[in-house]
């Protein structure tokens, strides 16, 4: 497959470089250490942080449609190991933002966002999880202060954005 002329405008690349710390991307020399450091890549062979960086460097608009980016756990192992100190997790977040801007958000990500709005957590805590915590001697989780969370999210305007993305993306009700 031939990918034609991603470079006629350097839109994605330039946009990302303009974001705070986005210009650290330029230091990347594609050594691949990030990918070999990545715990997600270890279990999901098609998740390749270096390749994401390469596509952004080449201003490939397809990065905005790249749903795999959302698999990043932001564990920052790649950044710790990067010999050129590229802020890789941050750049992948910017790639997600780019996806958001284009309305390309995976359902799972929206689900998590909705969970926070409704229960104050990205994941619903199941009773086996609570049992495990108890066995491990971890403290009680308590109840998230929903009022405050919702107020804060409304305050920074996230709620509206999620609703908007949902309507574009057509996320399903899940209650």
């Amino acid at each position: 497959m031939v990918t034609k002329d991603t470079m006629s405008s350097l839109e994605v690349r330039n946009w990302l470089l303009d974001q705070p710390e986005g210009e650290t991307l330029l230091r990347c020399y594609q050594c691949g250490r990030c990918t070999s450091a990545c715990p997600v890549a270890d279990i999901e062979p098609s998740f390749n942080p270096r390749l994401f960086l390469q596509k952004i460097l080449l201003s490939d608009e397809l990065i905005a449609e790249e749903q795999l980016v959302w698999n990043c756990l932001t564990c920052e192992q790649c950044e710790v190991r990067c010999p050129e100190h590229v802020k890789i997790p941050h750049i992948l977040i910017l790639a997600k933002v780019r996806g958001l801007m284009k309305g390309n958000v995976p359902a799972a990500a929206l689900d998590r966002a909705r969970n926070i709005l409704s229960i104050g957590r990205s994941l619903e805590v199941s009773s086996p999880m609570l049992k495990t915590r108890e066995k491990m001697g971890l403290p009680d989780l308590g109840t998230p202060p929903m009022d405050q969370i919702v107020a804060m999210l409304v305050d920074i305007g996230i709620v509206g954005k999620i609703e908007k993305a949902e309507s574009i993306y057509g996320g399903t009700e899940n209650e």
């Binding site: 497959m1 031939v2 990918t3 002329d5 470079m7 330029l26 230091r27 020399y29 390469q54 080449l58």
Partner: protein, 651 residues
């Protein structure tokens, strides 16, 4: 008088050698036999001072001549000395068998006695040296050599190529450094080299010898001039040519497909253009060219152009150049330009980005190629005239790439800078000063140069010129009906001796008869002392092979007794006759040990001795003998186990 001195090395050698038996059995061979416990120390040297007179011939049975030879050379009154390394070659490697080791020591000491019989005084060589230098320039290094030497008060002629002018120093060397550094350096050197006589022309012939070369130069105005110089430095420049990628890239067909030397002009006029810079994967670029590419693309990007570099390897000594290029926005794609289509004023370039296994197309305004950097076009002709060897890429070859970076195959001729390979400014200046140093050492040389030289028997010589062709140093020349020796070029290797089919060349102190007598005596003495036990002869060169055999002793890499090492000046001196003589005298095995492949100190001895052994093996095969009884191999000090590996192990 013939005297033997034995050293016990702090009374230790008697652990492995029966020194009393040695004295008893060998006593009749020498007029006197003296034993000392530390010949290498001051008391030992003083002892030798009192015991040895100028006319004595002496054999020293001690440690290797590599160690004891150094202080002795300064102290001994006689030049007739044979060293028998009874420590490294006998005691330390045959610790398990005192009787046989003692036998071996006796046999080798007897060999030393014969050796010293044939020893002649060294011949002093005429050291007349012309204290003027010719620099064949064009490269920046030439200017540097001229500058160095002028400042040292040496008379220098700097011959620049026809129609070369001083602007060319910057013009043709852009790749060597950033332009302001380059300009400053050239201006500085032009000022400091003012005292050199500058000419434009070509060298058309060379005669004479190292230290006294006669050069004929054809000048730009057609006149010829004759120049007498002591040494020559070749410091020519490089030229760029379109790479094999040129055709694909429409280079020559479109004015917007150019070489990287034009990128700066292109970028200074325009900005906002898209430029694809392509490396040629079939060409191995130097760090200087890699750095040049990085500097140029950075500048073009800083001027506001989009620059894409299609590369397969980034090579620079300055990692920050690469960092700066990336940070200035240059886009690096690891792949080779495969296809270019013209589309209106633009090019559609297709290449596979190997780092994403994806074919990509880029539409660009300009294609810029990294050229191949070749030696100056006159190099081949110059090398022919000066009798220099070229490497695979057509640059002038050095004599020994590790430790002799400016020496050529010819004595008295040196190279500097880009004559050797494309270099960055810093390395080229170092290379130039290195050449200046060698030249300077040559012309301030004083005293005499001594060595054993080949002597040609006019009666036996049939003028076949085999020796002339074999001599690696141009030290033998045909002069009408004679072969003449040029001592100043000679390195005393003896390769001419084995090359001569009529055996007309005798090497001082190593006459043919001396080898035959020594081999015969070793065979006879071995039979006398060791009976029917098989034995091995090792004909070792006195450079790497001998060092390796010494190291076998130091590292305790023992090998069977009945192994006798004969030291040849160079393995290239060994002819089939000495090999066959060894077999005739009963050796089970004859090993010719030389320097590592391509590493002969005399340039060709490793190769020649392999040929001689192969040839002798073929002879053995044709008369129904076992050719595996003889072999050639390399030995080096870093591999002291070589003797252990090569010498046949017997039950």
């Amino acid at each position: 008088m013939k005297k033997l001195f034995l050293c016990t090395c702090n009374k230790t050698l008697n652990k492995w050698l029966d020194l009393e038996r040695i004295q008893k059995e060998i006593g009749s061979t020498f007029e006197s036999v003296k034993v000392h416990d530390a010949l290498c120390l001051e008391e030992g040297l003083a002892f030798l001072d009192s015991e040895v007179s100028k006319d004595d011939a002496i054999v020293i049975g001690a440690c290797t001549s590599q160690i004891i030879g150094v202080p002795l050379e300064r102290r001994l009154k006689t030049e007739q000395v044979s060293f028998v390394p009874i420590r490294e070659h006998v005691a330390w490697v045959h610790k398990e068998d005192k009787k046989s080791a003692t036998n071996k020591a006796i046999i080798l000491l007897q060999d030393g006695a014969i050796h010293v019989n044939h020893m002649e005084p060294k011949t002093a060589v005429d050291l007349q040296i012309e204290k003027k230098i010719l620099v064949v320039g064009g490269g920046l290094a030439g200017l540097k050599v001229a500058s160095d030497l002028v400042q040292l008060g040496v008379e220098v002629t700097l011959l620049e190529p026809p129609e070369f002018n001083k602007d060319d120093y910057v013009e043709k060397n852009q790749f060597m450094a950033d332009s302001s550094t380059l300009k400053d350096t050239v201006n500085g050197l032009l000022a400091t080299s003012k005292g050199a006589k500058k000419l434009n022309g070509t060298v058309t012939s060379l005669s004479g010898r190292a230290g006294l070369f006669s050069v004929i130069i054809k000048l730009d105005d057609g006149k010829e001039m004759d120049l007498l110089v002591g040494a020559i430095v070749v410091a020519t420049h490089t030229e760029q040519s379109a790479p094999s990628l040129a055709k694909t890239s429409l280079y020559g067909k479109s004015e917007n497909s150019v070489l990287i030397s034009e990128l700066a002009t292109l970028a200074s006029n325009k900005s906002g253009k898209t430029i694809l810079v392509a490396q040629d994967p079939t060409y191995h670029e130097s760090d200087a060219e890699g750095s040049y590419l990085l500097r140029e693309v950075t500048q073009a990007a800083e001027k506001g152009n989009t620059v894409i570099v299609a590369h397969f390897n980034i090579y620079t000594k300055d990692e920050n150049l690469y960092r700066k290029a990336r940070e200035s926005g240059v886009i690096f794609v690891r792949g080779t330009l495969e296809k270019v289509d013209k589309k209106k004023d633009q090019f559609v370039c297709r290449l596979e980005n190997t780092l994403e296994s994806q074919v990509r197309e880029f539409t660009v305004d300009y294609i810029v190629l990294q050229p191949e950097r070749k030696p100056w076009s006159g190099t081949r002709k110059l090398a022919n005239t000066l009798d220099l060897n070229l490497d695979q890429s057509g640059f002038i070859k050095t004599r020994y790439s590790k430790m002799k970076p400016v020496q050529t195959s010819k004595r008295g001729i040196f190279i500097a800078g880009n004559a050797k390979t494309p270099m960055n400014l810093n390395d080229a200046l170092a290379s130039a000063s290195n050449a200046s140093l060698e030249v300077f050492k040559n012309i301030i040389a004083e005293g005499e140069r001594k060595g054993w030289i080949p002597v040609i028997d006019e009666e036996q010589c049939d003028l076949c010129e085999a020796c002339v062709n074999a001599c690696p140093n141009d030290a033998l020349r045909r002069d009408e009906d004679l072969i003449k020796h040029v001592p100043m070029n000679c390195e005393f290797c003896g390769i001419c001796v084995s090359a001569c089919p009529t055996r007309a060349i005798e090497f001082q102190s190593h006459k043919k008869d001396s080898w035959l007598a020594r081999i015969e005596a070793i065979g006879a003495n071995h039979k006398k002392l060791e009976g029917k036990k098989p034995f091995t002869l090792v004909y070792a060169c006195s450079e790497c092979a001998n060092a390796s055999i010494d190291q076998a002793g130091f590292t305790g890499k023992g090998y069977p007794t009945g192994t006798y090492v004969l030291q040849f000046p160079c393995a290239g001196m060994v002819s089939p006759i000495e090999i066959l003589k060894g077999l005739v005298e009963g050796a089970e095995q004859v090993i010719v040990a030389h320097c590592p492949p391509g590493g002969c100190h005399h340039q060709t001895g490793d190769h020649l001795s392999e040929l001689v052994v192969k040839f002798t093996q073929d002879m053995l095969t044709s008369i129904g003998q076992d050719p595996s009884r003889i072999k050639a191999t390399y030995m080096i000090a870093a591999l002291p186990n070589k003797m252990q590996e090569e010498v046949a192990h017997r039950g």
